[in-house]
Amino acid sequence: MMVSEIDMISPETMEECLQILNEYEQEVRLLAGGTDAVVRMKEGHWRPKLWLNIKGLRDLRFICEEKDGIHIGPLTTHTDMVQSSLLQEKADVLVHAAKEVGATQIRNMGTIGGNLGTASPAGDTIPALFVLDAVIELSSVNGIRRIPIEEFFVGPGKTVQHKSEMITNIIIRPQEENEIGIFEKLGPRKAQAISIVNVAISLKMSGDGWQCAGGKIAFGSVAPTVIRARKCEVLLTLQELNEEGISNIASLAWKEVAPISDVRASAAYRRDMSTALLERGLLRLMKRWEDR
């Protein structure tokens, strides 16, 4: 199918959008920021019969705190997240991750919903959403279901989202007092880079020392989907996070990952970098904790 043969509908309400998703019989795809979707269209991978352009659904662009957590609308851009004082205060790891996405133009265009929908194993915001226990709200004409992020992805580019569904909300837990987070990324350069390996860390510190009361670690680009590093997480609380403790924890990271080799890096390097980034992230976090 030629690009000029693809239709586009821009629904004015979410209800209208869900209706179309439900009723349209040929291939339909959601189009928001376009940073992935338009690239895939140009490359010939995505040539749906219809683009459902939801960029104009302004109601789906929000960041607010509710009883059950912080709600982030799927059309929230990366720039919105970087600039959100609520997220800066209670989801610093997500702010760091959003800052590392592409560059200004891409952050202004790309949305968190799009990042989840395309399900790239290298997507920078996804590890951060993992450590913030994100829940993805999927809506269709038949109702709403909420999926914990760890169950949302089933493989590279694949999620549990049905054709008739769209992401309508992302709910994350606010970080607690004394919880600090960081996003570490290794790319081939410092801006506009696709991650070779990335890791999100969020730690709950106890008191003033280097003792951690618990934390979460999630790696990207080292497995078919983002993965939690549960063995390392267990170790976080067993020893002080001084240089030696950090080195011990990080040295286990390679066991948690299952990377592949591709044009960007070898599997062996990615394994070692899981350790390196976890070490660097923890060192930087502890420095920040010390300087606070």
């Binding site: 030629m2 690009v3 000029s4 560059a103 290794l186 081939p188 350069r189 410092k190 801006a191 506009q192 880079a193 696709i194 070779i196 044009v263 960007r264 890096a265 070898s266 390097y269 070692d272 970098m273 390196a276 980034l277 070490e279 660097r280 060192l283 930087r284």
Partner: protein
């Protein structure tokens, strides 16, 4: 004499149209009745074409023409030196960069669809993808004469004897990347068959007259019937030196019923079809005495030119000519091969082979200095040649030589003096810093055996302004402003009174290429040759008007002044008045200037064009910071110390120095076009890693001016050497920081990390051995 314009930071005269988007590049033009052209490329790197059928494509509604080799009226080939690249392949394809057929259609999409409907039956052949294998007897022969396109040798002294007498010998092998020009404007342009039967090709290039000849040869046309407009150019760096799409445009334009045809590559097509820098394997063996005196250098360089020659032969010649650095080495044995493979196509690229060999000799200089405990600047000063000395090639260097001065300036720059202090200022505990230097040189102009001349025209315009016409295209460097400065200086007017026209066979004279670091020298000198003729024209006319002899008339400060017998200014005429007089009397208002570039008389036997008469020189000082956890390298500071002779426009020179430095950093750390088994793995800028602003350091430029007596106001050239020594300096700085030497570029985080890990493993192992 104080200069009014030479040496001044004159802002670019074409600045306003560039910063507002008003400047029309060739790919920005629009014609209402246009059609789109596309090129069919083969799916295999090496295959026989058994048959071709264009019927289905021709029958697609909206398709205007489908052309194959059968539609080429003239010679089916192009190539600057040896035209071995088919315009459209006939019986064999040798790279996925080849062109097999052309389509013109009403829309770009229809053209694309038509490409898929051209039926080509291929028989796949085993691709030759390793340059060293390509030289062997077993390798399939890609061209009738075999796979060695060129072989150059320079020998001097007795190398083996010197190796026996040496106190220190180093031997290493260096691999260099297939760098992509990555000009921001991809290849493209327009072909228009005019109503009078002439052809206009609007297509960015680096030598309109030669492009015209290559087009004419394929069409079997008289070149005079073809007009090529090749300027302005959205970046070139050598990548638009060869024919890009000009011949395709010309062929299609002959079949569209006079409708203008446009081709503009998407970046993906540019990545595959465009020329790249030759990847080299350089084996180098260098010997020195205890005191640091260089004794011998032995080099074997193998360049992978891909499927076709283009300028590959010249590249390997220049590499060998420069493979000993700007040093006096009495015994040398230098050998280079340019080899065909099925890996895309390589051609001209800023630096032209010198980048690859400089990495070898400068790394060895650094290693010798370290091993002997000599300061790295001192050892270089000890070995450099000066003007009038005999170089490693055995010829007397006649042009100006600034290496010594650049090294002295490096020694005195803040970064070098205070390097230990700066190295200690690491940003995080697991990072390490290093500071290093390297120096290099680069020939200006074509070398022996190639035509090399300059020409410019100056025309007096109504209102008293001047149009300066120079063939050399504006490819970004700001040569147009330089030409205006030279003209204004001699014609004693404002630079804003000069209108510069470049790169148009109907409006500018043939003055050679904008390559080989030659456009300031050549264009500047051509203007400086033409300008006195304009002065004569002005004074002669004024003499006639006033009825006095020419000797009593001089051009001064925007007018022509008549002096009385006592030498006192009597009366004057504006240039506008002179123009009016000439116009009314049907007199010519245009002058020309021509000259030949100075060349060495005798070619070094077997060298393929060495030596050059002129060289530019440059020393870089570089500071890096390496993350020992990940292997990431960041270049933090660069000091660039060029000797370009007289600097005509310091802002323009800095622009070259800064841009060249970052391109060199890209080569050293990030950039490589990956081709596996003849197929490009690199597709676009998502996986071709160009430095962004965040990867680029603070750059300072301190020119030393070793005036060149033959150059315009003492100028030489600078366009290429600006990116050369920084490569070796960056890699040596990594060594200074963390103790590992990367010999396979680019030094990606993964390669640096692997080297660090290997060293750690080795240390652990040797520690264990010690314990045992």
């Amino acid at each position: 004499m104080t200069s009014k314009w030479i040496g001044k930071r004159v802002p670019r005269l074409d600045g306003p149209e560039r910063v507002t988007g008003e400047l029309k590049y060739m790919t920005d033009y629009h014609y209402n009745n246009m059609v789109w052209g596309r090129v069919l490329r083969p799916p295999y790197p090496y295959a026989k074409i058994k048959s071709m059928d264009t019927t289905r494509a021709k029958n697609l509604p909206g398709v205007i023409a489908v052309l194959t080799h059968e539609d080429i009226p003239g010679f089916n080939g192009f190539g600057i030196v040896v035209p071995d690249q088919p315009v459209l392949c006939e019986d064999v394809v040798r790279t996925t960069a080849d062109a097999v057929a052309l389509v013109a259609a009403e829309t770009e999409e229809i053209a694309e669809e038509a490409l898929a409907l051209i039926d080509v039956d291929y028989e796949r052949l085993d691709a030759v993808t390793d340059a060293e294998f390509a030289i062997t007897e077993q390798a399939p022969k890609l061209h009738a004469d075999g796979n060695i396109h060129s072989h150059v040798v320079i020998k001097n002294g007795e190398v083996e004897k010197a190796f026996q007498e040496a106190d220190i010998i180093l031997e290493n092998t260096f691999h260099s990347p297939r760098q992509m020009h990555a000009f921001i404007e991809t290849e493209g342009g327009w072909g228009i068959l005019e109503k009078d039967g002439t052809l206009t090709i609007q297509c960015p290039g680096q030598y309109a007259y030669r492009d015209r000849l290559q087009i004419a040869r394929a069409l079997a046309w008289n070149p005079a019937r073809i007009r090529v407009i090749s300027s302005p150019v959205g970046g070139a760096f050598g990548g638009k030196d060869e024919i890009t799409v000009q011949i395709y445009l010309a062929l299609l334009a002959l079949h569209t019923g006079g409708r203008p045809v446009k081709i503009h590559y998407k970046r993906e097509e540019s990545v595959i079809a465009g020329m790249k820098r030759h990847p080299f394997k350089v084996k180098m063996k260098t010997a020195a005495k205890k005191d640091g005196t260089l004794l011998a250098n032995q080099v074997l360089a193998i360049a992978d030119t891909g499927a076709y020659a283009s300028l590959g032969g010249a590249v390997i010649s220049l590499a060998i000519e420069h493979s000993c650095g700007p040093y006096k080495i009495p015994n040398v044995d230098l050998e280079g091969y340019c080899v065909y493979t099925n890996n895309g196509i390589a051609g001209a690229f800023r630096g032209f082979g010198v980048n690859q060999v400089c990495m070898g000799i400068e790394t060895h200089m650094d290693m010798i200095a370290a091993e002997l405990g000599i300061d790295p600047i001192e050892i270089r000063k000890k070995n450099v040649y000066h003007q009038g000395d005999v170089s490693s090639l055995g010829h007397v260097v006649k042009g100006s030589v600034g290496t010594w001065k650049t090294l002295e300036a490096a020694e005195k720059c803040d970064l070098w003096i205070n390097r230990e202090k700066y190295k200690a200022e690491i940003s995080e505990p697991w990072k390490k810093r290093g500071v290093s230097i390297a120096t290099s040189f680069h020939g200006v102009g074509m070398g022996i055996g190639l035509p090399d001349y300059g020409a410019a025209s100056i025309q007096l315009l109504p209102g008293g302004r001047f149009e300066v016409g120079v063939g050399c295209e504006e490819i970004g460097g700001g040569n147009g402003t330089v030409y205006a400065q030279v003209a204004a200086e001699i014609l004693q007017c404002d630079v804003t009174d000069i209108v510069v026209v470049q790169g148009d066979t109907s409006r500018t004279l043939d003055g050679g290429t904008v390559t080989a670091s030659r456009s300031t020298y050549t264009g500047g000198r051509a203007v400086a040759t033409a300008a006195p003729n304009m002065l004569n024209l002005l004074t002669k006319a004024a003499g006639e008007i006033f009825g006095v002899s020419e000797e009593q008339v001089r051009v001064a400060d925007k007018k022509v002044v008549v002096y009385d017998a006592d030498g006192k200014a009597d009366s004057s005429l504006s240039f506008a008045e002179i123009y009016d007089y000439l116009y009314e009397n049907r007199r010519d208002t245009r002058v020309e200037g021509h000259f030949m570039l100075p060349k060495e008389k005798k070619e070094i036997k077997g060298s393929g064009g060495a030596p050059h008469r002129l060289y530019g020189y440059l020393t870089h000082v570089v500071m890096v910071e390496v993350d020992t956890l990940t292997g990431e390298t960041e270049v933090l500071r660069v000091v660039s110390i060029p000797d370009a002779g007289k600097v005509i426009n310091p802002q323009g020179l800095e622009g070259q120095a800064e841009g060249g430095a970052v391109m060199g950093i890209g080569y050293a750390l990030y950039e490589d076009t990956i081709i596996e088994n003849g197929y490009h793995k690199t597709t676009n800028f998502s996986n071709y890693i160009l430095p962004t602003v965040k990867d680029s350091p603070q750059i300072e430029t301190f020119p030393v001016e070793e005036l060149e007596e033959t150059g315009p106001f003492g100028a030489k050239g600078i366009g290429e050497v600006v990116m050369i020594p920084i490569i070796a300096a960056t890699i040596s700085a990594i060594h200074d920081a963390v103790g590992v030497r990367i010999k396979h570029l680019p030094a990606t985080p993964e390669r640096v990390y692997a080297a660090l890990k290997a060293r750690k493993d080795q240390t652990n192992q040797s520690n264990e051995e010690n314990v045992m």
